[in-house]
Symmetry: C2
Subunit: 443 residues, 2 copies
Amino acid sequence: MKTSVLSQLGQRSEAPPISWLMKLTLDHPHLISLAAGFTDSESLPVEETRELVNDILGARQSGKLALQYGTTAGDSELRQLSAERLRRLDAAGGPSLRRPKLQGRPHAVPLPAAAVYSPDRMLITSGSQQLLYMVTEALCDPGDIVLVEDPTYFVYLSIVQSHGLRCRGIRFTEDGIDGGQLERTLEALKRSGELKRVKMLYLVSYYQNPTGITTSFAKKVEALKTLKRFERAAGHPIYLLEDAAYRELRFAGDDVPSALAVKGASERVIYTGTYSKPFATGARVGFGVLPESLLTVVLRIKANHDFGTANLLQQLLTRAIGSCQYESHLAVLRRRYARKAATMLKAIREHFPANVTWQAPLGGLYVWARLPKALKSGVKSKLFQSALKHDVLYVPGELCYAEDPGRRKPNHEMRLSFGGASEADIRTGIARLGATLRELLDG
Amino acid sequence: MKTSVLSQLGQRSEAPPISWLMKLTLDHPHLISLAAGFTDSESLPVEETRELVNDILGARQSGKLALQYGTTAGDSELRQLSAERLRRLDAAGGPSLRRPKLQGRPHAVPLPAAAVYSPDRMLITSGSQQLLYMVTEALCDPGDIVLVEDPTYFVYLSIVQSHGLRCRGIRFTEDGIDGGQLERTLEALKRSGELKRVKMLYLVSYYQNPTGITTSFAKKVEALKTLKRFERAAGHPIYLLEDAAYRELRFAGDDVPSALAVKGASERVIYTGTYSKPFATGARVGFGVLPESLLTVVLRIKANHDFGTANLLQQLLTRAIGSCQYESHLAVLRRRYARKAATMLKAIREHFPANVTWQAPLGGLYVWARLPKALKSGVKSKLFQSALKHDVLYVPGELCYAEDPGRRKPNHEMRLSFGGASEADIRTGIARLGATLRELLDG
């Protein structure tokens, strides 16, 4: 046996950080995990889902529909509802668009038809993760370049890594990527003749994983303009892949319109959203909105992956959204996360040393804490090991940085999730982490 | 815009045959489709599923579990139940193993522990299709070779095509592939120096799609032995990918043990099964059993695809199997398909000309009809067009043949499905097809 039987992708696929984080959790039964991106268990819509499923399966006709294969693109009613919902969100979101606010009830605000939000540009996926994977497959060959936020969603980095892609990290500011650096990066790639390898810019634009930061609409406009200017030299479109996985988990501030709302840019925007986090992570249903030519290709890939997301789950979400149960659940969820975030921030203020900084999130599941640069937070650091000894787990910041030859990976940050842990555990966990931090900073 | 922005895979991805077959169905609202691989709608377990979901979501604890993320490998109880079920099937199946028959009830037959059926070698997937995709990703680079049955499952050919793989078709006999041709093919590849590109042999071993043929245990033993002999020259393992998607849909004859039961060969067998077809295609849950080293890689790929199949669906199947509702539903389903198959065969005997041949299936969803070689059945053929004019659709046999430089694609066969159509439609559809066939053969 001299050569590997594995493909290049197979050989490149590394153990995802999530798997050893989960193993640590299993090895430490009393561990308080502030690492997992789990959603809040207590507020899961158990009773609502039971009722909705009873409605679907209580009638023979809708029952049979839900238990039979659907189409690869997904249920047409769910696409219709999702497209409409997205259009309303975009129309209502943010003062920049000067449109009336979303009233919480569908059909309340009459809006002009907008081709960009057509259900025909949409497909239903098994969570938004599957869309990220398929879009990457459709666009990128080994050696191609994806521009990412610095830091970014670490599971996306696993996709990138297994496909043999290269990354350039664009510095993240308080309202999105640094437009100047995006431009300089593209200029440098143009000079080195690598611009044709650049396929897209990946943005986690709402309550970002891991930083909690939301990208402003102005930054989206700017980014699309910048990408456009380099297309001629690239020889092909450069897409903006907007990952809006946390958009619905807004508990303060205004919504921001998506990049789909940027005038004239819809042919360059790939938008992905999900109902997993805002409704139930156990019912994985996400969706994507894509330029038509790309949608065609992604649908072919989806046909090969699984020829369509489980219809029962799609019907569940169709009913949930159609009956406004989804909306009411969202309201509950937002209050819940607002409270859990406040609990975490209060504990951080109480227990963390003064030279640890953070930004209060307006949504999502995460607080991003920056330590003094001398204090390492990585897996092998004293901090991580000491936290583990005190039964607390966080995601080391370094995991969220792409391999980028242009800079060293920062190694002094922590992603803290208030999603899965109970409020009591959040308080205890942060207190223990605070004690560890003080010990190491004083010591 | 000079170059394509798409990846090689994106550029290679072709419109799957299934998509235009579906379009034809939409364009012809009165069409009787004997083409779709849909399962029987009337026997879908609507009420059973409703009860099971009520059980799961009726209790807060199991409800929360079902609506939260699970692990990438899948629910441990479902893996346990699936592994045990598979072991019992393999132990009971076929006289060749000289073991007591499956009694229909779990725990009835004590069996020795067998490491090969360990739940630790298993992962849960979104249908068996997803496993086929991921295994192909894990093993094959563009230019690699997959050995397939001739004919084979046409969606697998789409996966192969999009990944830029090459195929060699191995002639199919009445109990599986022609062992002699397998050997000659491998010999020829050895001589041409291409053996190192051969990664696996793909077999749809039960009530095959499209032919309905079941591979005998002896043929599995023989195939594994042959593959093994060429491994040294290949420089790596050559796997047998056994697709058992239709195994549970047996309505006559004995079950046959899977290739996992072949002594000493478990490290070379990748087995995939599904609960989609035998339970509900709208609740896509499948599973795979893999050699450990390969499982590790496929789990990493699965983490990137979707980090785990929807937990709600997994809990549904866990309950269905654990409560034996799955078993009772299977009994109903088998009687139903036996009847639909008999209806189709009776109609074929009545209406098809004498020089059309077929083999009565013992399970699955398909009858494979062979026409006189002069009578073409392809998409552009008179037969296909005339059938369409009479509102009947079948799958042209040519779609089920891989691109293989060694032979022309046969073009005189039809796959006829009795899965989705009602008995009345089966009768009418076959009668119309028979009339068309007579017209063309007489004309």
